[in-house]
Symmetry: C2
Subunit: 289 residues, 2 copies
DNA sequence: ATAATAGTGTCTTTCAGACAGTATAGT
DNA sequence: ACTATACTGTCTGAAAGACACTATTAT
């Protein structure tokens, strides 16, 4: 970036305080997939999608759970602030992440105007983290209503997003309203009930939607799986996140290019051993050109 | 959102100045599709994708072109600030928009730390706007190199994004590098040359990518078209944005559900008249459930 | 033997790609 | 008649959906 002489002069005179400034946080929605033992020696463990929340130590929302986040620091890149925050607050490093959305509603923080630049993080590590807890995600659509009109439709749905740890169950409800006509499509997400801090349940919901979408056209899922996995494990992972059952034979066909077979097999499982696979890092290479 | 008594006490004591705050702008990448007459009475006009840029009146980057934007105001919702800014600065109202990405690199603004919450806007209006100019978008990939490795690949490409108005031609080059291995996928976008202000060419590039992606699985394109259009017009619009030719028969099959036929036809064209269509606002209704 | 998972084969339907062929206005 | 666009028909092959069938292990 070239800076002109005129710009240089201007910069010397520039006062930093002309405009009002908001506070800005970075917030990280951390997901993992965990195996839950079924007790039955034959049965495979169940996969569960979990999100990590920390317990707030200070007001506002003291003692409530919240997504991991921090106010930003003017000398650090946003993504680095987020990485440092996640490392220092909960002890997680080396994860997949992507920027999600910037939430900035006027009333989202009772203190003052606070923007949240949110990130979605995926990890395949199973160690427990600090200062918080992993919560199973139970997402239920409890109602859905479509009103058809000549020039479009209006769609409302109620969603219950319950977060369950070993100790506590946090209930959250969202109302989503989509209005579509010839001219525009409007989408509104409203929190009707939330046991967690701020508008964080909205951020989590947004991250879930992003994750689901990206499953369909990327290989993002491997960030949630161990290095070596079976195809059934892979399939269960898709199923848990998408919330629907897939047909086995078809699944194997569709994911054939996504994975590379290894010469290793599971054992000690009380049923036929399963071949292990790893992610194929060259899967999307042909799409480039 | 419930606020506890403890929170209320805390808020009375809360000082707004604990954390350093960045400046924040909202920035709008405005696209339209315009018909360019070919001179030949038989030939249909050519479609061009354009972006609207304003000329900066003050330092930094005085007299350079830039995306429409403004510093935010603490009492207004982000999207409203953006709408007001676009209305007041260039005179555009009633458009499709979506939030794009938040750019926050330390050195992106020479004055101080400035975050940009960027939006993509689509309009089908053909009136000229104020305080700037429409620029044809000429996006060329000038080189692409893939280095394959056992555990992944690395892909570099150079992109030339030239913006052309009636008066001026603005050259911009980007280097994009994607590194993928077993562990992570890294994407880096670097500006190697830019005739416009700040990192705005990056924002425009990002908006273009989003637009292309969304074309494939949404009906977003209708925000760029007049209310009534022919299927060839629709096809040309896709082609211009995607940068590739489509086969006519197949195109008509694929888009059949997206549109509703009208009992109107073009005339005076020097060739067979064409039926007019409008967008089908109920197209995505079945996906809901 | 049994329960549970692992994995293959194949029929049907749907859809994308390619392309030939027909239709029709204005000059 | 000619040109440029409008529109239809159809062959091919790939991929999605559904489901039956075979294989293999620990207890």
């Amino acid at each position: 970036m070239q800076i002109s002489n005129e710009d240089k002069k201007f910069l010397e005179l520039y006062s930093d305080s002309v405009y009002e400034k908001p506070s800005v946080t970075v917030d990280a929605v951390i997901f993992r997939l965990i195996d839950k033992d079924t007790g039955n020696y034959r049965k495979l463990p169940e996969k569960k999608l979990q999100v990590y929340l920390t317990k707030r130590k200070f007001s506002p929302f003291k003692d409530k759970y919240a997504v991991v986040g921090t106010f930003i620091d003017l000398n650090t890149e946003l993504s680095n602030t987020m990485k440092l925050c996640v490392k220092n607050k909960v002890g997680l490093e080396n994860f997949y992440y992507e920027q999600l959305y910037t939430f900035g509603e006027k009333q989202r923080d009772p203190r003052t105007r606070v923007l949240s630049v949110s990130y979605m993080l995926l990890t395949n590590k199973n160690e427990d983290l600090q200062n918080g807890a992993w919560f199973d995600i139970d997402l239920k659509q409890v109602s859905s209503e479509i009103i058809s009109r000549d020039n479009g439709y209006s769609h409302s749905k109620k969603i219950e997003l319950t977060l369950i740890s070993e100790e506590i169950k946090l209930k959250n409800s969202l109302n989503i309203k989509i209005e579509k006509d010839n001219i525009e499509k409007l989408r509104e997400v409203e929190i009707t009930e939330s046991d967690i801090a701020f508008d964080h349940i909205k951020i989590i919901y947004y991250a879930l939607e992003r994750l689901k979408n990206k499953l369909e056209y990327t290989d993002i899922i491997f960030n949630l799986l161990p290095e070596k996995f079976t195809l059934t494990e892979l399939k269960n992972s898709y199923e848990v996140i998408l919330g629907e059952k897939l047909l086995d034979a078809n699944f194997r066909r569709k994911t054939a290019d996504l994975v590379l077979p290894l010469n290793e097999y599971t054992s000690d499982k009380g049923h036929r051993p399963s071949q292990l696979f790893k992610a194929n890092p060259n899967w999307d290479k042909e799409d480039i050109l």
